[in-house]
Subunit: 408 residues, 2 copies
């Protein structure tokens, strides 16, 4: 038997079934008209952001990193709850505009921005987080050509990393941002060029569950921003402190202690060096805001036994849930939180492998999982599906196509 | 420095540039109007199939497993070169019909076939490779409801595996097919029920480069099919012997010796047991037919140095090339064959990391690669991109969207 990840708070059984936003899983599948299906909960997103605001310094802006989940209705919903939006391509910019975001609320980071992306962003007034001297040159040229004052910040490749993070974005050679020691010269140059100078973007890692590691990293970010501003002799109007707040996916993962992070940050904000006294601070969070608010529902289409192992074969799979299948950024596959949605309060009574419908052994949703007995027609729920699910999976694989998505 | 995989045969430089189907990479990118771009070569596909036919027994049918590459024009082109098509979903069936395939040329395998998929396949006259007793029941019920005689085969979960294969599809508990010991009873039942009995589908693994392993596996497949037919007391009108023919992706990989495989198979076909004397044999190949005929072209948008490491940042990435990035079915990432397409005959002179444009450290196309010096605007070629590329990657990730595709 292999343990399942912890089911996030906020989900309960109604009439024996998993309820999401007060509605039964089976009713949601009926309403969608088909399975598989991603369901995102407004209440859980709003609650998550409210909980965060309650413990973070008021001065800290919260940005949504839409790469986590670009579903249109979700993007519209979260617009009223956050202070800004972080995008990673012009495709995301177009989705953001459709969802009603204003360009000045948006900042754009990404190591491979094409000329047409720079043009569109500068023309609209989006803040660019510059990733290299070369990109800075292209941005300045583009702005000149357009006759526009560009909103420019520098993304810094910090010398430190976020300890224990799922993905390290600092602490060595990286394709992201400028090495810290080259930042002052470029900052000076941009300010001298008369751009709308927006300060720094310092992102050191993602998916960390250890508050101490995040506190340490945020401390380093503040120190580095102050140091870079001083060395360059420029103000720091804005500081994007990155994200890194993780969610528990796997057995023994425990939720991040955001109260501890918030308290430490308040303390830092109360003792800022002069150069940061007027700075506007932001963190950018994707997964942390929406990941646990989403559930992937997939229907069991076959139940079979092979050499003593029971398989629940579903109509979903890695084409919608690449990360849950263990094929995206993980070396050792572990089980996400998974349940039988239509028997949510039944006791576990058998060990099964939950697999997808794809004709490949990579298509696994839960290995050796201890679950209630389930039959063909039952719905399986994969939790933590609100981030890096639908949009981060190869939906066209084997001719399957995308899943339904709903915001409830 | 890390070695690159071997560039497949059939690619050469014209005027210093990579040529595909006799045309320059830069001209192909111009014609497509945008990068990134998948280019598939008609000539290389046709040559591959001709080479295969030259060494395989004439009696052996060659099927195309379209999961490898469902691009419409390629699907149409290959139709005249192969004897049948293997699909894994009704989505693939629809693409196959658009490309002009007849239902009787098509067989459908996949562990999670939904009721509507069974209906569509049975109604059209597609051969179903049944994956379980439960699926057989559903297929029989569906056929009865439709008043149609279904074309049914049984997919067997063999007791052996394909040694050295990239993905093992046999030799233990599997979600695919019926365990061999349960096959005779179901075969008998299907024949007694008056279905159009199509025999067996036995698939033991994929992506093998060792001819001896394939010869051994094909021998086991023939033995098992004969044994199952005899035990069930049924004829074996058709035997899908699976695939498993691999292509070299990585340094030190060597091409499969198909002459050896063909000779061994001829020998087996000359000495078949009576029960297989009238059998129609097929192998189903996807990657082997089209994988090396495809190239992914992506343009360098930035060239930067971080802590002494040079990065070539491209406008492509894992959203089109998930497997090449090392995030799909591989534990240790190794470099695919990669070249600077626009400096194809230039000598290597520096060590670089080629990365994609996505804002994630997972987005790598070549690590520590020894390549000619390249600048912004140059095109990078990733080879072995004809299979499990465009359709097996998360193209919507970070708002990027799909790549262009061309058949030349």
């Amino acid at each position: 038997m292999k343990a399942l990840g912890p089911i996030p708070a906020g989900y309960s059984a109604i009439d024996g079934e998993l309820a999401i936003g007060g509605r039964l899983a089976s009713a949601l599948a009926d309403e969608a008209g088909d399975t598989p299906l991603f369901v995102y909960s407004r209440d859980l997103i709003a609650q998550r952001i409210a909980d965060l605001r309650a413990v973070m310094p008021e001065r800290l802006n919260i940005h949504y990193a839409m790469k986590a989940n670009p579903y249109g209705p979700l993007l519209e919903f979260i617009a009223d709850l956050v202070d800004g939006l972080d995008i990673a391509s012009i495709g995301e910019f177009e989705m953001a505009r459709e969802a009603g975001y204003l360009p000045r609320e948006i900042s754009f980071a990404g190591p491979g921005k094409r000329d047409e992306e720079l043009q569109a962003a500068i023309r609209a007034g989006v803040t660019l987080n510059l990733e290299s001297e070369g990109e800075a040159e292209r941005a300045l040229d583009t702005a000149k050509m357009l006759g526009v004052t560009p909103r420019l910040a520098i993304r810094v490749n910090p010398t430190f990393e976020l300890r224990g993070s799922g993905m390290k974005m600092g602490g060595g050679a990286k394709p992201f941002g400028l090495d810290a020691d080259r930042v002052p010269a470029l900052a000076r140059k941009l300010v001298d060029a008369g751009v709308n100078w927006r300060g720094f973007h310092i992102y050191s890692g993602s998916q960390a569950l250890d508050a101490e590691a995040i506190i340490e990293s945020q401390g380093h970010v503040l120190d580095l921003a102050a140091q870079l501003g001083a060395e360059a002799g420029v103000e720091v109007p804005h500081l994007n402190m990155g994200g890194g707040f993780g969610i528990p996916y796997f057995d023994k993962d425990t939720p991040l202690d955001i109260a501890a992070v918030g308290a430490a940050l308040k303390d830092r904000f109360d003792n800022l060096p002069d150069i940061l006294s007027e700075t506007e601070f932001a963190i950018e969070l994707g997964r942390y805001l929406v990941g646990e608010a989403g559930v992937y529902l997939t229907r069991i289409v076959d139940r079979k036994v092979s050499h003593g192992t029971t398989y629940l074969v579903t109509d979903g799979g890695l084409h919608h849930q690449l990360a849950a299948s263990g094929n995206f950024g993980t070396v050792v596959r572990r089980n996400y939180p998974v349940a039988i949605a239509t028997r949510f309060d039944a006791p576990p009574e058998e060990e099964v492998n939950v697999v997808g419908c794809l004709c490949t052994p990579l298509d696994r949703l839960a290995d050796q999982a201890h679950l209630p007995r389930a039959e063909v027609g039952d719905l399986v729920a994969v939790f933590c599906a609100g981030a890096y699910g639908a949009s981060a999976s190869p939906s066209a694989f084997l001719g399957q196509g995308p899943a339904c998505e709903m915001l409830v």
